[in-house]
C-alpha cells in the first residue's frame, strides 16, 4: 500500500465510477438553534448554530449496502434525510444516478426510485388509514397502476412479499405488532419499485427475534430486487450483519469508512476502536477490551480541532488545533485521524 498518499480533498477520496448509484459530496447541514431574535437581543446572546453534519462524502455502488454508524448527535439521521430529499443541505450535493437531487431539477421521476424506511413503526403509518390505502399511496402518487383493480392486486402482492396476508390490507395499523408494522412500511417503500432504500434505524424499536426477521427480509428483498441500501444504525453488530461497507460518524463527520471486514478486523480510527470495545461480548469469547472513557461532547459546542481528541488515547498537539481531513487508504476506504497518519509516516505499514 502506498504510505505516502497525500491528503486529498474528501470529494476525491472515492473516485466516482459508473457503478455508483449514489454520490454524496461534501454534504453539510447547519441548524439554527438560537433563541428567538428578541431574547437574543435582550440576553445579549450570540446566534447558536449546530453543525449537525460537516463535509460528509461517500458513494454507494449499485446493489451495495453502505452503513453509517454513530451514537446520538453524530448526524447520521440528518445525512439520511438529506440523501433522501427530505432536508435541504446547507452545502454539498447528493447525486442519484448522476442527477443532483438538490440542484433544482424536476424530481418527479427520481423520487419514485428513492424510498425510505423509518425507525418508529408506530409513527410512520397513518393511524387513520387502512393498510391497503397506505401501501397504495405511492402507487397512486406515481400513477403506477391503471385502475383500482390493478392497485388492489399490487397491494396484495406486496403484502405477501413482506410476509403478511393480503387480507391484512383491510385492517388499520393499530391492529398489528411492531414487527408487522415494519413489514407494512417495507411494503409501502417497495410499492413504487425503487432502486435505492434509505433505512433509518429500521429495527432499533423492535425486539431481537423480530429484528432478525426484518433484517433477513431486507436482505432477501435486496437480492430479489437488486436494491441499494443506505443503512443507518447505532448497533455495530446489526451493521456488521447487513453492510458491505461502513462509515463511522462522530459529531457530524465521517471519521472512518471501510469495507466491513476491514473495519472490524483492523479498525483504524481510535473512535472506531472504542466503539468496537464497547459492544457487549455476547459470545463470552473473552476478547480483550479496553475500558471506554468519557462522554460525547455537546454538539452545539464541539471541541476544537478533532472533535474526538478529549476522549482519544492517541491525541497529540496537532489534534487540538487542526481538523483531520479524510485520507484515502484504498479506493473504497478512508480515515480522518492525525495519529493514524503520523503512525503511518513513521513506521511503514506491513
Amino acid at each position: 500500500m502506498n504510505i505516502a498518499l497525500p491528503a486529498v480533498p474528501s470529494s476525491l477520496a472515492e473516485p466516482a465510477t459508473m457503478s455508483d448509484l449514489v454520490q454524496v459530496r461534501e454534504l453539510s447541514r447547519v441548524f439554527d438553534v438560537s433563541k428567538p431574535w428578541l431574547n437574543r437581543v435582550i440576553e445579549r446572546e450570540p446566534r447558536k448554530l449546530l453543525k449537525a453534519v460537516t463535509d460528509a462524502s461517500f458513494s454507494i455502488r449499485r446493489r451495495e449496502t453502505l452503513a453509517l454508524v454513530g451514537e446520538s448527535g453524530s448526524g447520521k439521521s440528518t445525512v439520511a434525510k438529506m440523501v433522501v430529499g427530505l432536508l435541504q443541505p446547507t452545502a454539498g450535493d447528493v447525486r442519484i444516478d448522476g442527477k443532483n437531487i438538490w440542484g433544482g431539477e424536476d424530481l418527479t421521476l427520481l423520487r419514485r426510485r428513492i424510498q425510505m424506511i423509518f425507525q418508529d413503526p408506530y409513527a410512520s403509518l397513518n393511524p387513520r388509514w387502512r393498510v391497503d390505502a397506505i401501501i397504495a399511496d405511492p402507487i397512486r402518487a406515481f400513477g403506477l397502476a391503471k385502475d383500482s383493480a390493478e392497485i388492489d392486486h399490487r397491494v396484495g402482492e406486496l403484502l405477501q412479499l413482506v410476509g403478511l396476508d393480503p387480507l391484512d390490507g383491510r385492517k388499520y395499523p393499530h391492529e398489528f405488532s411492531g414487527g408487522q408494522r415494519q413489514r407494512i412500511c417495507i411494503a409501502r417503500a417497495l410499492s413504487s419499485k425503487p432502486e435505492f432504500l434509505v433505512c433509518d434505524e429500521p429495527t432499533s424499536a423492535l425486539d431481537v427475534s423480530v429484528q432478525a426477521q426484518i433484517l433477513n427480509l431486507m436482505r432477501d428483498l435486496q437480492d430479489q430486487f437488486g436494491l441499494t441500501y443506505l443503512f443507518i444504525s447505532h448497533n455495530l453488530a446489526v451493521v456488521r450483519h447487513m453492510a458491505d461497507r461502513i462509515g463511522v460518524m462522530y459529531l457530524g463527520r465521517i471519521v472512518e469508512l471501510a469495507p466491513t471486514e476491514h473495519l472490524f478486523r483492523t479498525p483504524q480510527h481510535p473512535y472506531t476502536r472504542m466503539l468496537l470495545d464497547a459492544v457487549p461480548d455476547l459470545a463470552m469469547s473473552g476478547r480483550p477490551r479496553k475500558k471506554v472513557e468519557g462522554e460525547i461532547p455537546n454538539p452545539i459546542d464541539p471541541p476544537k480541532g478533532c472533535a474526538f481528541h478529549p476522549r482519544c488515547p492517541l491525541a497529540f498537539d496537532r489534534c487540538k488545533s487542526e481538523v483531520p481531513l479524510p485520507r484515502a487508504r484504498t479506493s473504497a476506504s478512508f480515515v480522518a485521524c492525525h495519529a493514524v497518519e503520523r503512525a503511518e509516516l513513521t513506521q511503514p505499514a506491513a
Binding site: A237, L282, I296
Partner: protein, 339 residues
C-alpha cells in the same frame, strides 16, 4: 450457600378486565443471593418488567398479585400495608429505571435529593450526610462531585444522570437493587460504563441486583445467572454462561441465534417465526408451542413447569423427554423444582 436476599415463589400477577382476567406473570419463582446479579431477560410482553413491579409492590391497579410470595431477607413483603411497603422500598430496595429523569426531581439539586434520602434512612447530621453524598457520587464516577453536587438534574448528560440515579439508589444502602432497562436509553459507549459501574458498586456493597433488560448483551456482561421469560413465565433459568452458550429451551436457542454479533459476520440470522402472543391470546399448553419447530403433542396440551437440568432449570417437555430417554427407569414427572 448464604440465604437469598430476594426469594420469589410462584408469583402470579393478574389484570382483571372487562373481557376476562389477563395473566401477566404466571408461576414465576427465583432467588437472588447477596452480591449476585440475576438478569431477567425477555422481549416486550414477556412480563419481565411486571415481575419487577410486583416485587416492589408498585403494580398499577387493577393489576394485583393473585398468588405467590415475595420474601426479602426472610421477611414476607408482598402482603405489607402500603405505608410499610413504602419504607421497605426506600430503605431496603433501590430502583434504577430506564429514564433517569423519572427518578430525579427536576426542581431540586441532586445533592438535596441524595442528602434527604441518606437522612431519612440513617440519623446522619446534615454535614455527614453531605460528605457521604459526595462519596457516593464519586463512587458512581462523577468527577468533581464536591462541585457538581449542587447542580440540577438538567445540567447533567444522560449517562451522568444515570450515574446520579445509581448513587441515589445506593444512598440508603439497600439489600436489593432493581434495575429496569438501566442502559436502554444510553449510547453504546456510555452503556458499557454504566454496566461496569452497577456491577462493581453492588459487588463491593454486597447488594443483590435484579437486572431487567431486553438486551442479551447487557446480561452476558453483567449477570451471574439469567432467567429468560416468555409470555409471563420463566422459560429457562441458569448460570449466564450456560444459558448463553448452551441454551436448552427452543425459545432461548432461537433468541440467541437471532442476535447479530460481531463475531459471526454476514451469515443469515436464525429467526423465530411469529411474535410473542398477546396476553389476551396465550396458547394452551406450552405458550411457545406455535412458534416452536420441535413441538410435539404434549406441548400443545400440557404446560411444562421448570425442570431441573444440571446447573439450571428449563420449562420444556423436550428436556423431560430427553431425561426419560436417557434413563427410562426414571419416569420424570414435572416436579416442582426449587431454583
Amino acid at each position: 450457600m448464604s440465604p437469598p436476599v430476594l426469594s420469589v415463589r410462584n408469583l402470579r400477577v393478574e389484570f382483571p378486565t372487562r373481557r376476562g382476567t389477563l395473566v401477566a406473570v404466571d408461576d414465576v419463582s427465583f432467588d437472588i443471593g447477596p452480591g449476585e446479579v440475576l438478569g431477567v431477560v425477555g422481549e416486550s410482553g414477556a412480563g419481565k418488567s411486571m415481575t419487577g413491579t410486583a416485587v416492589i409492590g408498585l403494580l398499577e391497579p387493577p393489576g394485583r398479585i393473585a398468588s405467590g410470595e415475595v420474601w426479602l431477607q426472610g421477611e414476607r413483603i408482598d402482603r405489607l400495608p402500603p405505608e410499610k411497603m413504602r419504607r421497605v422500598r426506600g430503605r431496603r430496595i433501590g430502583m434504577v429505571f430506564q429514564d433517569p429523569l423519572t427518578s430525579l426531581n427536576p426542581l431540586y439539586q441532586i445533592g438535596e435529593q441524595l442528602i434527604e434520602t441518606i437522612r431519612t434512612h440513617t440519623d446522619a447530621s446534615p454535614a455527614v450526610a453531605r460528605k457521604r453524598a459526595i462519596g457516593l457520587l464519586e463512587a458512581a464516577g462523577i468527577q468533581g462531585a464536591a462541585r457538581r453536587i449542587d447542580s440540577y438534574p438538567h445540567e447533567f448528560s444522560g449517562g451522568m444522570r444515570q450515574r446520579v440515579v445509581i448513587a441515589l439508589a445506593l444512598a440508603a444502602e439497600p439489600d436489593l437493587i432493581i434495575a429496569d432497562e438501566p442502559t436502554t436509553a444510553l449510547d453504546v459507549s456510555i452503556q458499557a460504563q454504566i454496566i461496569d459501574l452497577l456491577k462493581t458498586l453492588c459487588r463491593d456493597r454486597g447488594a443483590a441486583i435484579m437486572l431487567i433488560t431486553h438486551d442479551m448483551g447487557v446480561i452476558a456482561e453483567t449477570a451471574d445467572r439469567v432467567a429468560v421469560m416468555y409470555a409471563g413465565r420463566i422459560a429457562e433459568i441458569g448460570p449466564v454462561r450456560d444459558v448463553v452458550q448452551r441454551p436448552q429451551h427452543p425459545y432461548t436457542k432461537g433468541l440467541m441465534g437471532s442476535i447479530p454479533t460481531l463475531e459471526m459476520g454476514g451469515t443469515r440470522l436464525t429467526q423465530i417465526p411469529g411474535s410473542m402472543p398477546r396476553l389476551t391470546a396465550i396458547p394452551t399448553g406450552c405458550a411457545f408451542n406455535p412458534r416452536c419447530n420441535a413441538a410435539f403433542d404434549r406441548c400443545r396440551v400440557e404446560r411444562p413447569d421448570p425442570m431441573q437440568t444440571g446447573t439450571g432449570a428449563v420449562a420444556c417437555w423436550l428436556a423431560a423427554r430427553a431425561a426419560d430417554e436417557a434413563d427410562p427407569a426414571n419416569q420424570m414427572h414435572p416436579t416442582r423444582m426449587a431454583p
